[in-house]
Amino acid sequence: MNALEINNLIMYYELFGGNKLMAINNISFSVEESKTTGIVGESGCGKSSIASTILKILPDNAKIINGNIYFKYGEIIKRSGKVDLLTLDKKTMQDIRWKGISMIFQGAMNVLNPVYRVGDQIIEIMRYKDNISKEEANEKLEDLCRIVNIDSSRMKDYPHQFSGGMKQKAIIAMALSTNPKLIIADEPTTALDLISQYNILEQIKKIQKKLNMSMIFISHNLFTVSNISDQVVVMYAGKIMESCEKKKLFENSLHPYSIALIKSCLSINDKKNKLYGIPGEPPNLVFPSSGCAFYPRCPYAKEICKKIEPEYKEIEKKHFVACWRYI
């Protein structure tokens, strides 16, 4: 059963002068219940735009022109079965937010309101969403502090008195505070050192199991994504290139981009090999060329890749790929 299912989603940003930046170009993927789907790709490939689209917190110039986002837990807004988030009105969407879907934001520096105490901001959202008393909220805050490893006395501080890592931890605590069904983690550990990264990821995994949460984990770091995910989605230029179980991605990745991505990661085992880089640059999303988005950088590019875009197809069970080599 899928907690979240995205079908043929197309979203673009309208730019000054009427140009369109195709940020999400016909994307479909799903998140299984209490499992994690990781999204990996380089900067600007549309990873974070997916997160904002799901929560509907896009800027005014963003236009969604096609697709559905089905969310399983209609009971949160007193409906049965799954609901299409894109058809919900503003008020109903507000009820979905943080009770149904919460988010760990990227770039923690400015996500907390600078004029209120950190603890008060976490308590505020718990009290709005769960209708609990101040005492209960305080107790829960203590628990959350233990989970993300912050001294609970620091919760009386203002955001500017926190270090970057502590802010990130506070934001993680905030995302967990209302026991949401689905968490979107957008580069949640990027601001942290490796040891905290590991600890927090382990904690998130533990809580996820305990509370039966589903998760979308977004990162440009292939190893972080593969550490935590069950299913991995590889994105490039607003499109999905390949999507499969994480084990398969490392053992039997099919798309040339995925292969190149794995090759460009450092491995502990081979010390002699030089680090591999993918030649070329990511494509322009405002004036996309025809055909496959990756063909200018693809070592296997054929004549057809230039002209026609390959279809995103299920090659074997739960393994999708968009490449002419496999059609």
């Binding site: 009820d95 770039g107 520096m109 996500v111 907390l112 309101n113 004029v115 505020e124």
Partner: protein, 328 residues
């Protein structure tokens, strides 16, 4: 936040204030000396003999060299002895103390009203951008903002006092009423009745600046990550608008308020003159026209003091509003 560094900060701010005040009074002194016209001509009788004229000039110290005059002036200001007014033949300090509460009443209430109104309306038009509300408020605000203050005052007097007879034409109290020993409530109501038009004039012509500042500032904070994050958390719109976007947008507006207060002194002089409001601004206008040096100097001194003190007060209030400001 208030802690140990606070006392140190206040001391520093007060010292800075004293230095600014010193600069101001020096400028005032020399400004009056280079002004054309002879102050003594105002009090001298043409029938007086030249010896008598000399005597009077001597008694006012006007024959001393200018730097000696300056020294005497400084010493007197420090001891709050600002001399006698030529016009009233009364100590300047006494006159100023009599007028000061009237000016404070008008200035403080107008500043507070204009900023509250400006922040409130700015918040609305920033939240509802490109709406009719924004359009109408902008046009109305700009209309009054660009209107000369004294002209607006005259128009209001014409409509509400002269034609409709709703409010008194000028002054602060109704002498006829006060001579009958009215109760405290009647006195307050009477003052409010007189205060209404000058207050409206000052407020209406200055709220617009605050409104647009608030709007611009809030349009920026609406794009901040913490506002988007608050939206993502599904907090009610009212909470996002007031506690997240507006609360942070107010901070630069408060800074502008500091600058606005010094700017409103000029407006205050005009308003007090148009409405014959018995305050320091009105006195300043009259004494300058009549070359009543001591009184004009005293009024300038007092207005500068009000400005400097209010700037320090707002600075301190600011630290309560923005926890990131600390006094170390």
């Amino acid at each position: 936040m208030i802690h140990v560094g606070f006392t140190k900060y206040i001391t520093r701010r007060i010292l800075e204030g004293i230095i600014s005040l010193f600069v101001v009074i020096t400028i005032i002194f020399f400004l009056f000396r280079v002004m054309p016209g002879d102050p003594v001509s105002m009090i001298l009788d043409p029938k007086m003999t030249p010896e008598m004229k000399e005597m009077i000039r001597n008694s006012y110290g006007l024959n001393e060299p200018i730097f000696v005059q300056y020294g005497i002036y400084l010493k007197n200001i420090i001891t709050l002895n600002m001399g006698n007014s030529f016009h009233y033949s009364k100590p300047v300090f006494e006159i100023i103390m009599e007028k000061l509460p009237n000016t404070l009443l008008l200035f403080t209430s107008a500043s507070i009203l204009a900023s509250v109104l400006g922040i409130f309306l700015g918040r609305i038009i920033a939240w509802k951008r490109n709406s009719n509300t924004e359009y109408i408020l902008s046009v109305v605000g700009l209309f009054f903002y660009n209107m000369p203050l004294f002209w607006l005052g005259l128009i209001l007097i014409y409509i509400f006092s002269f034609s409709l007879g709703l409010f008194p034409i000028g002054g602060m109290i109704d002498y006829q009423l006060w001579s009958f020993n009215p109760s405290i409530i009647e006195k307050i109501l009477d003052i409010l009745h007189h205060l209404f038009l000058p207050l409206i004039t000052l407020t209406v012509s200055s709220f617009c600046g605050m409104m647009f500042l608030m709007r611009t500032s809030m349009v920026e904070t609406l794009k901040e990550d913490y506002v988007i994050a608050a939206k993502a958390r599904g907090l009610p719109d009212k909470v996002i608008r007031n506690k997240y976007a507006a609360r942070n947008a107010e901070l630069p507006v408060i800074t502008a308020l500091i600058l606005g207060i010094s700017g409103s002194i000029g407006g205050g002089v005009l308003t007090e003159t148009v409405f014959s409001w018995p305050g320091i601004g009105y006195e300043l206008f009259r004494s300058t026209m009549e070359r009543d040096y001591p009184l004009a100097q005293g009024c300038f001194f007092m207005l500068s003091l009000i400005t400097i003190v209010s700037v320090i007060v707002i600075d301190v209030v600011y630290s309560y509003l923005d926890p990131r400001i600390s006094y170390d």
